[in-house]
């Protein structure tokens, strides 16, 4: 029964997971917490480990949650299930793309659809962040200091690049996402070790 539930949950996450890593993690969070599969703390730890290990964050998180809920088989089923909707939809898109290859990015319907999706993703991730702001992760005022520092550091690239061209900004945003979250998690781990051990 657990296996069936895992397959169902990760098919659903794969199907509704628009917007990449964090959006997918938000979806997994909703399912896992509402079903009581993991505590909030266990889930946050899994997200941290997913961030600092190689591979797509969403896949790492899916594999790990699958393992935590249903052992090795659970991990494999969750990993396969999250990919299946992508296979179906992306292959369909590939066939359509061959037909309408030119200028689809300028297509009005495509642009509007993408914008609606982006707005929904922001709301989804905002809800996930709000849900996680509880005493389980924030044990004292030091926790809030760590939160504030990481939050501000993550947003710094936005201000730095405000005046540069879009292309440049995109590229440095990319570089920023490359190193910052991993470095910040490792540093906050170091802080935790120094402060709480």
């Amino acid at each position: 029964m657990t296996y069936l539930a895992l397959i169902y949950v990760f098919l659903k996450v794969g199907l509704l997971g628009f917007g990449g890593g964090m959006a997918i993690i938000s979806l997994i969070q909703g399912e896992v917490l509402s079903r009581g599969w993991l505590t909030q703390t266990e889930f946050v730890d899994i997200v941290a480990i997913s961030q600092v290990t190689p591979g797509p964050v969403g896949m790492n998180c899916a594999t790990y949650v699958g393992y935590a809920v249903g052992g090795v088989w659970g991990a494999l089923l969750a990993s396969v299930a999250i990919v299946i909707p992508s296979l179906v939809i992306m292959l369909t898109i590939c066939y359509v793309y061959e037909a309408i290859r030119n200028h689809f990015q300028q297509n009005r319907t495509f642009q509007i659809t993408m914008r609606v999706i982006r707005i929904l993703v922001v709301l989804l991730v905002a809800h996930a962040a709000y849900t996680l702001m509880t005493p389980a992760s924030f044990i004292d005022y030091t926790s809030w200091i760590i939160f504030a520092v990481v939050f501000v550091l993550m947003l710094l690239p936005l201000f730095k690049n405000a005046k540069r061209s879009t292309l440049n900004a995109k590229r440095s945003m990319l570089n920023a996402t490359l190193s910052n979250p991993i470095l910040l998690i490792l540093l906050s781990g170091l802080a935790g070790w120094l402060l709480y051990a």
Partner: protein, 132 residues
């Protein structure tokens, strides 16, 4: 060809930490600069489509490239390459972490990490909102 696709995505899956967006530069380097599988404009289209479709961006891009270059077998090779490193590494870590989770030092480290993770998610909200 199939092996080369598989190997390329194994590399992409193993050497990028942080997921989807962190993978894009490496994917571009392998797919456009090194192997010339796609030109610049097609690459940009592929990324737009991989982001538009639900699911993991890395996996979606793997499906697109595999399909374009070698049909069904290519899709299998690329997707397996993209996800196998994750699955293997996470399984090993999950088994190991279960045994050390209650260690006081590990617990102290994670006390520091937890608010940072919440901050990463909260900052993602702002970052995504500026790109609407």
């Amino acid at each position: 060809m199939i092996l080369q696709l598989f190997w390329t995505y194994i590399k992409i899956g193993t050497f990028t930490i942080g997921g989807g967006y962190a993978m894009l530069p490496l994917i571009e380097q392998e797919v456009v600069d090194k192997h010339h599988w796609l030109d610049g404009e097609e690459y940009a289209n592929m990324i737009a489509l991989a982001q538009a479709a639900p699911g993991l961006i890395a996996v979606n891009s793997a499906i697109f490239i595999g399909h374009r270059l070698a049909g069904w077998k290519g899709v299998l090779a690329c997707v397996l390459g993209a996800v196998l490193p994750s699955i293997i590494i996470i399984l090993l870590i999950a088994m190991f972490f279960r045994d050390i989770k209650d260690n006081p030092t590990i617990e102290a480290i994670f006390k520091g990490v937890r608010p940072a993770v919440v901050a990463l998610i909260a900052a993602t909200v702002i970052r995504l909102a500026t790109k609407i």
